[in-house]
């Protein structure tokens, strides 16, 4: 069998065995939930509740501002304690609504929906927008924006990103194993927006059991195809997945829609189903709590806003002293100084490790071995780019196509000299993006 793949990439230790067979467990929400107003790319949401208000589960607490933005919903019932800046996983202080959980879990009544087959495109998009759904694979781009390309007729492929290539993460895998019907239905709903599109599932070959389930559910429908990809990081990166499944390539100046593709994450599709068919806004997400420092690794269904501290406690606490704690996967996640940050819409995992490999492998001289060039899925020259970045040579950096970097971290991973290539490149790249925005 030919496996779909791309050139470059790496094979890190995947650590998935720790949590892949553990069914999703409902996590307790804790006393205080924090909802940063910026959990997505785009404009910050605006609070529609004020201090002291009582809110119910599923009640909108912050309204999207403009088209590229997303609303935020309360995931517990209780009172708004305060709206103040709180630290998020990225380390920045973001205005957040803080709600004290009254443990009643009193829910709003969700609007009744017509059967999805009878909905038109506008209604579907409106329901998705209203539910505050964002790309739950990590980028947190508002989904209704992604689903509104200039020409819906030109979309030929809608890709369900089931590759979950980040090591340790099993949240998407568990969702696939436990509720494949809702994921397939989510894709069916999206295909209604794009009459000329085929639905592709991109599943890595280390998740064959999930692929089998998807195949069983879609075998009667010629509009779907389950594609098995080689397990390789970063197979789940948008450009690399499109290349693997369709052979089409795109660069940083293009969007997937420009090559007729739209890519959606597993949990995003699941949330679309719940929003469109059941009228439920985005309230939960799956978080894998894992790593060798964790007593009992778990896959939790978590109410957004729950503190990571709460999750660690429910996973049995720490078996060993953690030295590095990461929100997300080890390749692209954010290191946390402590656990006092909330789970957001795009949080996929909490990884607690007893070793700090970044610290352990302090940088030495580049020996020009070229491993970073081999690993780079964008076919760049990471060591040269990092060198230019450290000298802050903007012109040279642009000339060597530094803006094409997808920040996957493969170069830093393979570097035998422990050089922090991705870090250096990222710093310059983000500065340039920031400058261009102004």
């Amino acid at each position: 069998m030919k496996l779909f793949s791309f050139r470059g990439g790496i094979h890190p230790y995947d650590g998935k065995a720790m949590s892949k067979d553990l069914p999703i467990a409902e996590a307790k929400a804790g006393k205080e939930l924090v909802y940063p107003l910026q959990q997505h790319i785009g404009a910050m949401a605006k609070p529609v509740v004020s201090k002291g208000d009582r809110v119910l589960v599923g009640q909108k607490i912050a309204e999207a501002q403009g088209f590229v933005s997303a609303s935020i919903y309360a995931t517990v019932s209780g009172n708004v304690r305060i709206i103040e800046p709180r630290r998020t996983v990225s380390g920045s202080m973001v205005d957040s609504i803080v709600i004290v959980n009254d443990e009643q879990y009193e829910e709003v009544e969700y609007p009744k929906r017509k059967p999805w087959e009878e909905l038109n495109a506008e209604e579907i998009l409106e329901y998705i927008r209203e539910a505050g759904i964002v790309g739950m694979g990590g980028a947190a781009f508002p989904t209704h924006v992604k689903l509104s390309p200039k020409d819906p007729q030109a979309i030929q492929y809608v890709i369900a990103n089931c590759s979950e290539c980040e090591p340790y993460l099993t949240s998407d895998y568990r969702r696939l194993m436990e509720e494949p019907e809702r994921i397939v239905l989510g894709l069916k709903i999206v295909l209604k927006l794009f009459p000329n599109a085929t639905g592709l599932f991109g599943v890595e070959d280390n998740k064959m059991d999930a692929a089998v389930k998807l195949r069983a559910l879609t075998q009667d429908d010629p509009r779907f195809k389950v594609c098995i990809c080689k397990s390789k990081y970063p197979q789940g990166a948008e450009r690399q997945l499109i290349k693997a499944l369709t052979g089409r390539e795109l660069n940083s100046t293009k969007l997937p829609a420009d090559v007729g593709c739209i890519v959606l994450n597993v949990d995003t599709l699941y949330s679309i189903t719940r929003a469109v068919c059941e009228g439920r806004p985005l309230l939960h997400r799956i978080v894998t709590v894992t790593g060798d420092a964790i007593e009992k690794p778990q896959n939790f269904a978590v109410r957004i806003g729950t503190s990571y501290e709460e999750l660690v406690e429910q996973a049995g606490g720490f078996a060993k002293e953690p030295v590095r704690i990461v929100s997300g996967g080890p390749m692209m996640g954010n290191a946390l100084p402590d656990l006092k940050v909330p789970v957001m819409k795009a949080s996929s995992a909490l990884l607690c490790m007893t070793r700090d490999e970044t610290e352990q492998y302090s940088p030495t001289a580049c020996i020009r071995c070229g491993r970073c060039l081999d690993a780079c899925p964008e076919h760049l020259m990471p060591t040269n780019l990092a060198e230019l970045a450290l000298r802050w040579d903007r012109e040279g950096f642009l000339k060597l196509n530094g803006m094409e970097c997808i920040e996957c971290g493969s170069c830093s991973y393979v570097c035998p000299a422990g050089r922090r290539l991705a870090h250096a490149i990222k710093a310059v790249r983000r500065t340039i993006i920031e400058e261009r925005r102004r």
């Binding site: 470059g8 890190p12 660069n251 590095r324 997300g328 290191a335 020996i367 971290g409 393979v414």
Partner: protein, 312 residues
């Protein structure tokens, strides 16, 4: 954990296990068959050469860094590789001080003065070998061993046009420098490096193929298998192609560049061997090739992913 703030740093938070010192150690292991055969073939004096040359390289690196108040990097084993390669390029009859002198030149002049590991534009071991060849031509081309004087098979080939004993050239039972004579020993090391993912065929393959093509076209013998085999097996070609042309620091980093570099080395080696005054040409070809590396890299910047459809 409660109140402690953990370190944070940018992702990724995991690293591959292969470090610089592991790569160097693998190169050292890969050179052991050639070194071992050299000692077996040329006797204990070869072992003395190797020991002194390697020790001098490591000590030179340590002392230079110590007195320049730079971090000590002898732990990365790159000085051992340099010393070992230089020793394998010495004739066994050379005086014992010549290896250490070359090591000091390699480490201090070629490597450290240009900024240390990764910064030298020329292969240190070859730079030192050429320095020694030019300064002590007599010692460096004296291939006497076991008290009888012997010309290297390549020199005989150049003078008389005769291939003496191809089988001996391949096993290594001929005159030459300590590590270059046995094709088999060198290839064992090369296979090891390829299997371990340290080197690949791009540079050595294009080097040897283009050299063979050059010999066929300009050697005056057409496609003469015996002559061609003698050219390939003789002199420093095998050691050079597998262990020195593939030196990370002084070879192009781009894939396309590596092919160009290999072809360039093949042509230069052919030129020097056929039309130069000496039968040898590998060392000069490689250090001359080193000078072209920045230029080669400049014209072989890989095309980024998805570049055809660039918008704007």
């Amino acid at each position: 954990m409660s109140e402690v703030m953990l370190n944070v740093s940018a992702s990724p938070h995991v690293r591959a296990k292969v470090r610089t010192c592991h790569i160097m150690q693998m190169v050292i292991v890969a050179l052991l068959p050639a070194a071992g055969y050299g000692i077996f073939h040329f006797g204990y004096r070869a072992a003395l050469h190797i020991l002194l040359t390697v020790a001098a390289a490591v000590i030179a690196e340590y002392l230079f860094e110590y007195f320049m108040h730079r971090p000590i990097t002898t732990g990365d084993c790159s000085a051992v590789v340099t010393g070992l390669l230089l020793a394998l390029n010495l004739p066994v009859a050379a005086p014992l001080w010549i290896g250490p002198l070359g090591s000091v030149f390699a480490i201090i002049v070629v490597k450290q003065l240009f900024g240390g590991l990764g910064q030298n534009f020329m292969n240190p071991a070859l730079g030192a070998r050429c320095f020694l060849l030019l300064s002590f031509a007599g010692h460096m081309t004296n291939f006497t061993y076991d008290t009888y004087s012997a010309a290297t098979p390549l020199a005989t080939l150049k003078e008389t046009g005769e291939v003496l004993d191809l089988q001996a050239m391949i096993t290594g039972n001929v005159a030459g420098t300590i590590g270059e004579t046995s094709v088999i020993a060198i290839l064992i090391g090369a296979v090891f490096l390829i299997l371990m993912g340290v080197i690949d065929f791009r540079i050595p393959g294009s080097y040897l193929l283009s050299f063979a093509a050059f010999i066929c076209v300009f050697g005056g013998r057409g496609f003469d298998v015996t002559y061609l085999s003698a050219q390939l097996a003789g002199g420093g070609l095998m050691l050079g192609a597998w262990f020195m042309a593939t030196d990370y620091v002084t070879a192009p980093i781009t894939k396309g560049g590596q092919y160009i570099y290999g072809v360039l080395l093949g042509i230069l080696t052919g030129l020097f061997r056929l039309f130069g005054p000496s039968a040898e040409g590998v060392s000069y070809a490689i250090i001359l090739g080193n000078l072209f590396v920045p230029l080669i890299e400049k014209i072989t910047v890989p095309r980024p992913f998805g570049w055809e459809g660039k918008r704007k």
